[in-house]
Symmetry: D2
């Protein structure tokens, strides 16, 4: 079977109700075409080419300050190497108990950090509770040899469950971190979606609020593979070239990452794509909110929607070709889901269409 045949399989004539994850989507046409255009010619390898430098400069513009940028292959690499760069022996990184770093990365953050531990902090709506963070950090006094040492804090924006930290909320976490000199990292796998949800600028949502390091994700929002680590204090990035190289994350033909980012940023494409996917999620939210056959599990603001639907409706939707994942019912709120119901996650992407959303909503009503 050729790839062309395959693509047909995944492009149904009427609608493609693919809500399993935003990384099931392909790449936006502008980005794919830029890759094609970039395929000709020659350029220095390992990030030394002009395009790499241009894109790095573009990052500085976008963040309104000098930043250090490091392309890597995956979001897991971006998170893990950011945190590794601030590692200390016996170090501890505080994250939300549902964070990607602790739930979905198979121990990579610890592996690259010389076994620094992740300590989970609870908090409603997928966000670290500031009081609980303070309390957890207090368990690790600076001179307490046995427990290990508080070394970093990481938050996810947008969160794993579709919510978004407000700017003051970020500031509050940053203030707590700064009291103990803990660098604050932001996992921005869905950074653009959060920006759109807040109507904030990249600078506002990061360093102006006290964020020190950012995993800047492009892959979920229309690139095929474009992840970057951004250091807001270049001095802190001093060791990163070696950390990245030793981690086998330095692309030889790095310019193809740069090319994706170049197209991603051109004329604000990245924000348009996030606006689109957030908008599709809004449409889903509205439709579910208005439905008798479903309800929102909790409010979300980005491109993820969590809904409680009847098992029957879930089955119907799947039979009609919809793709989505069941989501575990949070242990703290078992009452969220009644018998005969199921909790599902729906993720929209740049490639989601109104027809996809409407088709899915129609399944619910059926």
């Amino acid at each position: 079977m050729s790839a062309a045949t395959l693509r047909t399989c995944f492009t149904p004539t009427v609608s493609a109700m693919f809500f399993a994850s935003d990384n099931w989507a392909g790449a936006h046409r502008s980005i794919a075409e830029r890759l094609l255009a970039e395929s000709a010619g020659f350029a220095p390898a390992y990030g030394a080419g002009e395009l790499d430098k241009q894109v790095e400069a573009r990052f500085c513009e976008i963040f309104e300050r000098e930043v250090s940028v490091f392309f890597v292959a995956t979001g897991t690499a971006a998170n893990s190497l950011s945190l590794a760069s601030v590692q200390r022996p016996g170090g501890i990184t505080f994250c939300h108990s549902e964070a990607h770093v602790i739930e979905d990365e198979c121990g990579a953050p610890e592996f690259f950090s010389g076994s620094a531990r992740l300590v989970a902090v609870d908090g409603e709506a997928g966000k670290i509770d500031p009081a609980k963070l303070s309390a957890k950090i207090a368990n690790f006094p600076e001179d307490a040899l046995r427990h290990g040492r508080a070394s970093a804090v990481t938050i996810t924006q947008a969160t794993e469950i579709g919510t978004v930290y407000s700017l003051p909320e970020i500031g509050e976490i940053a203030a707590i971190s700064r009291k103990r000199n803990l660098p604050l990292h932001m996992d921005g796998a869905r950074f653009a979606n959060a920006l759109i949800a807040l109507g904030a600028t990249p600078a506002d949502m990061t360093w102006k609020r006290g964020v020190d390091m950012l995993s800047f994700g492009g892959t979920k929002n229309g690139c095929w593979c474009a992840e970057a680590i951004v250091f807001f204090d270049p001095e802190r990035a001093r060791e990163m070239p070696f950390i990245r190289k030793r981690a086998a994350q330095l692309f030889s033909k790095s310019r193809f990452i740069a090319a994706q980012f170049d197209a991603y940023f051109e004329n604000g494409l990245w924000l348009d794509l996030a606006r689109h996917s957030n908008g599709m999620a809004d449409r889903l939210r509205a439709g579910i909110g208005a439905s008798n056959a479903a309800r929102l599990a909790w409010p979300t603001a980005s491109n993820e929607v969590f809904a409680v639907i009847s098992k029957r409706a879930a089955k119907t939707a799947e039979e009609k070709g919809a793709k989505f994942y069941a989501w575990p019912v949070p242990a703290a709120t078992p009452e969220l889901v009644s018998e005969g119901e199921t909790l599902i996650r729906l993720v929209t992407s740049f490639a989601t269409t109104q027809a996809d959303v409407d088709g899915f909503l129609k399944c619910l009503a059926a």
Copy 2:
């Protein structure tokens, strides 16, 4: 400056004498177009899609047996994770003293292997000397707690200096390795170039000669990022999914790696590309061999050519736009280069043209 402008910079009207490295080239048009085509539609993430499976099956065909295949982001990752998969506490991997793993990977092989050591073995023509390998291995008896333990052997095919192990030579290294149950790894960053040089089949050059694991490189030969680890005994690959995930090397949109390999293998494109670049190197070798102003430093068989030229000629070539690296004169053969001369490395690629080669040769004669 837009990317379009940039490309112009690197596409001179007359000829592009870019011999710095095969990873200065872009991506072959067929591969780039396949990426473009693949950008539409949806597919399961993390390697679970149809295309990933098809390409894995293609690897089995190519190698004439069941193999386990793992895509990774870089050749360094392929080497490091292969070796990590056979790690033992206090383990030691034997490699040639000029191997990429020991010279150019910033400690990644050790890092991923839980600090397993690399022990360099000398040998002429960039190839491990079998007798010296035996002697080195003998320094590490199986029960010698203090010295560390022989754990793996790795060879590079084609080698870092453009030579190629013959099939019997591979078999000899494999036989020595097998005596001590040491898995044999092949760094195939330029695997296709070696195949063409030998006129061998992939099976012949690997498992039929006793190779256990292969870093199969596509990037240097026309892909933009397509590297795979191939295990000839799938049983040995049991831990690899976890090793790769923990190493932050599992692409979410893995199908874009698969798509590159799909186009790479289609109608034997990969072999055509290697045949082309080897052919361009042949043309360089012939031209240099016939030149009064240059000579070959040593015989090579793949797409790398090492030449001794006058410093004046080097300067002329550079002024005319040629790109190449000076290469350190091997400590063992200082007489190779006389005063006023310099040793250079010239690497051809799928994108090298006859005009490039002839233009360069003309510089020498000037």
Copy 3:
């Protein structure tokens, strides 16, 4: 100040109310004298001597089966290297939320295990709750790449808060572990105290109940430095010589560890010492139970006693020279301690005397 003077400081004429920890005590005279005796003569280094072998054989007798024994320098080393020996990439070890491995070892278990994660399981009385363990393990299905992999379970006997798993309780944890093929490790820093508390044999409390690896601690019970890792299946210990050596835990004059264990085991000294310290704890428990000025925080069975006393009494006791640590009030039971009171931990040792205990009880009554 000479060491002799120092000892005077710490040997008050009337009574030494040192309840801070059992590792504040020195070494039992028989053990110290054996060390002195062993200081003469010569013996092969690195554990190859006769005495090492004899003591290994003694371990086999004590555990009524063939075992593999590895001396190490600290309890942390014993725990960390045991767990490292069953490491898998992305591995996860389940421990109680108050376990020494997660609370007091500065990340050593993760460090030696190639960053394997510790996952805390709650449970009353300092013991892993079997149902909660099952539930936690179920979060990590064998094929779930992202979450990491269940790799081991560790329990502490006696626990950190002075309680003791009953034999059926150990068996239940072992049965849950075995269902998923998870090796079961026991941190026996206070192994002898637990044995006495249960009236069990070493075999009963370990492999007969499904324990696979044991950190056998002698230091807290009268040795000055004698810790051993015991593997009940020698096959599982195959890699341990290398793991230990690479961990810098192989003593050159290993026979001095062996000598301590030799004296420790002679004529059942080790059980006598534990019986004594448990007995002193019984006396403390009885005295506190009968006191108006204090109460037991929770029932304990080994040589640790947790008491709630008035802050005034605590101050008095300290002024009279008593040494003990305040203990954090468990978050789950804040009502345990009223205003004006404090929770303290009292640890008895082989060196604790009736006069010490009675002296302390008198302070409470004062």
Copy 4:
């Protein structure tokens, strides 16, 4: 068989010709008795006691400056953790090609350093050749991402083959290291023997010549287990408490290490012991030099003697109870040993007697 019986085995009535290693000896009586004395009483654990602090102060006196001192369990730990404290990603430590760190520690230095590589430097007489060190370091320019980064230099004093760096030689290595800001570590497993050989003070042989970190060994010279890491710049030791604790090298009853050092230093015992063992080696050297049946393989200055003897003499000596190791003939000097001869290493210790030496010499003559 009791330990008493065992000792008898190893204390032949006439003479104990144990030259296998200085760590076959036991502990000096004064040190063993101090341990016995220290066994009574109580003291704070984990190095917080008075005796620990006193001994640390004694180290400051001995080295004539403020130093930071960390007790560890083994020489391998001292070396590995010293080097780990100056680790950088992709780091490289330069050592002599016969150094203990690279030959005899099963990869521990790399393991604790996050996989920093050891690069061997040749040099005659077991000592790093300064010119070769400079050349090796030059292979790793500070900004060369691929090769890894020069991070430390380590020398062994006395060396593995019994020779001793002169003070100017140490200064020369230090000057080369300092040019690239590479911390200089000294493996002082036989530090006292080197001091005596040179007639130097501890300060002279270390920081006054540019040494930054020292593995200070007491075990081979009469303690049973007393190793310390000494930092001459306490600022550099900032992370060491955590590095040591995470490495499972913090003794709970740390005072028993302190007690050994206390006795070791008292009235210059340590220097007397080294003077004795060096003297016994002198006697061996003189005897062998004067013998017709043996010759010195190379000049040595510490307590190690390397001799070429006839295989027959070797057999005779072994039959008479002498213990020693055959030593591999250096690859560079195969002519050192003729047919029918063997190269052996003889190590004297504080416990070696004149009778032992004379007994052995007599075997040669037989």
